[in-house]
Subunit: 294 residues, 2 copies
Amino acid sequence: MSLVEDGHPALRTVMAALAPYTGRAYVIGITGAPGVGKSTTTSALVSAYRARGLRVGVLAVDPTSPFSGGALLGDRVRMQDHALDPEVYIRSMASRGHLGGLSRTTPQAVRVLDAAGCAVVLVETVGVGQSEVEIAATADTTLVLLAPGMGDGIQAAKAGILEVGDVFVVNKADRDGADATVRDIRHMISLGDRTAPGLWRPPVVKTVASSGAGIEEVMEAIDKHLAWLTAHDALRRRRVERAAEEVSAIVLEELRSRMGDLRADARLSTLAGKVVDGTTDPYAAADSVLAALT
Amino acid sequence: MSLVEDGHPALRTVMAALAPYTGRAYVIGITGAPGVGKSTTTSALVSAYRARGLRVGVLAVDPTSPFSGGALLGDRVRMQDHALDPEVYIRSMASRGHLGGLSRTTPQAVRVLDAAGCAVVLVETVGVGQSEVEIAATADTTLVLLAPGMGDGIQAAKAGILEVGDVFVVNKADRDGADATVRDIRHMISLGDRTAPGLWRPPVVKTVASSGAGIEEVMEAIDKHLAWLTAHDALRRRRVERAAEEVSAIVLEELRSRMGDLRADARLSTLAGKVVDGTTDPYAAADSVLAALT
């Protein structure tokens, strides 16, 4: 796993060796604004999947997550129960404020947990800006968490969270305003183009993750989504799209690195000098670079 | 010029034809927050360079610029004086909220004005976020404009404007606080590593662009910077670096486009399908894509 985070040279050998053992895990993304209870929900889902006798992986790509070591004592204790369970693999990914990196390393880390025999991998990520969209691209089913009275509805719409959610969870539903938040989300879903026939219509589930209330309903919603994906031949399609993204990211990274080599020796600046002198133009120079890259 | 903005297929032929006629124009970047008087200053500089008998090009990559057609009547009238002058070439670049595009099209547009015989090209860009850094990379001399009482000092430091400025201009210097702004900027320059021996130390000039006051001093500062660049063999070095950036951008764009083709036909998804099935790994798939790209 450290190899993945460091982008270690041995990574490609390791990935090649693991390949035959992958493709079995079901990947569930859990995203939402800070404070909505992502970690508590993740913890409750771990318990529920363990109760089904399944091996569970947890990837916390949320810098505010107690999995990543930065939160309330109560949460951390709850996590440590799982940390002692040999059938639960927990890993927090160092984000290093570097999202492009996360979108490369997250699928690789999922693949490691997959090869390690986890039937379910939960990927927890904080929903700010682009990240939740990138990470949702990693998941088979994405849960979007909201909490009453946080103006989440509007934020969700802004952040594009509405588009990535397969299941919406209104957590802390014992608080005032939970039903209003549910209505808001339902209303926003009805406004979008997600209600067209033949599309999955995301359910909205109320939970109090700290007491476990509603977690069974979340599990049911996930099971239904999996069944829907399978029935519509969409699970494999999603995964192929994801793999294509991942391969593309590796290709672009490799090309950037080769470009860096061209910069390091004098070839690129020699060509650029010719552009400045007017003895060649940028496109012809780019052709020479392309030829040298490959 | 429209070919440049549209990324027209004929662009490379045009650029090749223009290449021998380029490399003569001196490029001056003008950046700063909205409301500091960039367009008024640009207009005053156009007049000053015209008074020297030079052909002048103006590229407005600032969506709030009156050159782009979006501002006060007074400014627009002032611009239209220049618009009637056959020795002044004015072009506003449609940004389409797409900065990556601007960083490709701006140097090409500069090259067109250069080939058209403009001795000076003024590139006006609004200083928000990344843009001023990207555009500054296009200029031989970058003017950073500030105005008193706008908290510009702090904003400048935040936006990295301090690093890109070759000449700082405190415009609207007839307002209260102008001297304080000058002191702030001088202080910030003294804190940075720009005061090391052998580096250009950016001067701070006060102007009231609307009356023309201080514009002669700005011209002198630009002339001194040009003389310094020339004496330190830095002009060509800067331009080669810029051309290298431009060529790199074209290469990456071309590679992305080839990647898009791979996506459009079934090759990428076939490879991605093998990754999902575990019959290959993402790195081996990336190798196949790299081979196909080139």
